[in-house]
């Protein structure tokens, strides 16, 4: 893959290479953060000095379907040893979809000095770079966070309903089978996490993984433009909402549209299909 700076991204500073991370392992202004779906990966070996942010136990409120609040974020930031000035570099499994999810939550608290390690964990491993099982010794920091701001990059049910009423741009990043509502399961084992199958009216189908190369790196801007602008017909100047099942895969697409293609107003609907497909009175399409 070419240098990040040569790929034509709107905001290339949001990505760093594995080589850059390797050069900054001892940089006190940089905190490397691993965030995975698979809970066994970090303990089985991680980038030296990296801390783990677990999307379930660290980012979600245990009692409400919501993210952690200001005090929770401050406690998390303290535990992982960052200040508002720290450059947070996220990486993880599944082409960084969990890393982009964690980054998105950090940005809800205004920690925009956050980047993704292109290619994620897989690329680091395949390049033969070192992993360690040794957990870093972190000195707790003091972090004074603002209240979580859900107004800019997060969408809610009622906002999505209003958005479709205005024929706004929606991207469904689930698999084609999920989008169509088709049943794709073994006999007797339904897999849909919702009462109904289908998609939000007016949504375009574009599985999140189309933005990634085989090695987990992001496609270049021309390739991404071909998909999202030419094929889907999205207008970067128009408000756009991405969704999936719970908002994890769509955070990857949110990252692509907002940071790599420079869309001005992109929100991630984390209620996604598990909320929309189960809600009384909401319209769907099949």
């Amino acid at each position: 893959m070419s240098d990040i700076s040569s790929r034509g991204y709107a905001n290339p500073d949001k990505l760093v290479s594995t080589g850059w991370v390797a050069e900054h392992l001892n940089d006190s202004n940089v905190r490397v953060i691993e965030s995975n779906e698979d809970p066994l990966l970090y303990p089985s070996g991680h980038v030296s000095g990296a801390v783990e942010v677990d999307w379930v136990k660290d980012l979600n409120d245990p009692l409400r379907r919501d993210y952690l609040d200001k005090s929770g974020f401050e406690a998390l930031a303290s535990r992982i040893g960052i200040t508002p000035q720290t450059t947070a570099v996220f990486y993880g499994d599944k082409s960084n979809w969990w890393a982009t999810y964690a980054l998105w939550v950090f940005e809800l608290f205004g920690h925009t000095n956050a980047k993704i390690m292109d290619g994620g964990r897989l690329k680091w491993v395949e390049e033969g770079r070192e992993l360690t099982r040794e957990k870093p010794s972190i000195s707790p920091t003091s972090y004074n966070a603002p209240e979580r701001d859900d107004s800019q990059i997060r969408a809610f049910r009622d906002g999505v309903l209003a958005h479709i009423g205005e024929n706004g741009q929606l991207v469904d990043v689930r698999s084609p089978g999920e989008f169509s509502g088709e049943k794709l399961h073994m006999e007797g084992y339904p897999q849909e996490g919702a009462v109904r199958g289908g998609h939000i009216p007016g949504a375009s189908s574009c599985p999140w993984s189309r933005a990634a190369n085989e090695d987990g790196t992001f496609k270049n801007a021309a390739e991404l433009s071909e998909i999202y602008l030419n094929e889907l017909g999205l207008d970067p100047a128009e408000p756009t909402i991405a969704y999936c099942r719970i908002g994890e895969r769509s955070s990857h697409t949110w990252f692509v549209l907002s940071n790599l293609l420079g869309f001005g107003d992109v929100r991630n609907y984390d209620g996604s299909w598990t909320e929309w497909g189960n809600s009384v009175g909401l319209p769907i399409e099949k």
């Binding site: 809970p39 599944k94 897999q191």
Partner: protein
């Protein structure tokens, strides 16, 4: 910890002894860290399907639908009427799927079919805890279901 059928008052067919042993071991673990370390050790024992059974590209009929770690399962008949189970996990980061496959291989290969057929997919949460993602939980459950399905299919054909 012994698993009972939900809708019956009498105990369902017991689980394969090795599986019950694992369930007992994990049931006693209160620390997430201990559970994760144990699962990593088990994942280290994972052996992919030998080439004498299957070679890539695998027949899609053996794919575990719903498992994003790209797990595949094969069930080969033994002379004694039981099954040998083989697995592969194509995603090199699919460590949980590898651990689950290793458990199922050790517990279900050669085990009485009624015991294998009785396994409830929710045992996943005894091994991994309830704080795994919906997708991960579903994928691992489908891996178990694929094994159970093969046992039930053989039982129905008897």
């Amino acid at each position: 910890m012994r698993f009972l059928a939900r809708s019956q008052e009498t105990p369902m067919a017991s689980y394969p002894p090795k599986l019950q042993q694992y369930l007992d071991d994990f049931g006693f673990m209160s620390s997430r860290e201990d559970r994760v370390d144990y699962l990593i050790d088990i994942a280290d024992e994972f052996q992919p399907v030998p080439s004498s059974i299957a070679s890539k590209p695998y027949d899609e009929a053996h794919r575990v639908i719903g498992c994003e770690s790209e797990a595949f399962v094969w069930a080969i008949d033994r002379a004694d009427g039981t099954l040998d189970f083989y697995f592969d996990v194509l995603n090199p980061q699919g460590l949980s799927a590898m651990a689950m496959s290793a458990i199922l291989d050790q517990a279900c290969s050669g085990a009485p079919l009624d015991q294998v057929a009785a396994i409830n997919g929710e045992v996943v949460f005894t091994f991994f805890g309830k704080d795994i993602s919906m997708g991960k939980g579903r994928g691992l459950t489908e891996l178990i279901n694929a094994v159970v399905y093969q046992a039930r299919r053989r039982l129905r054909s008897d």
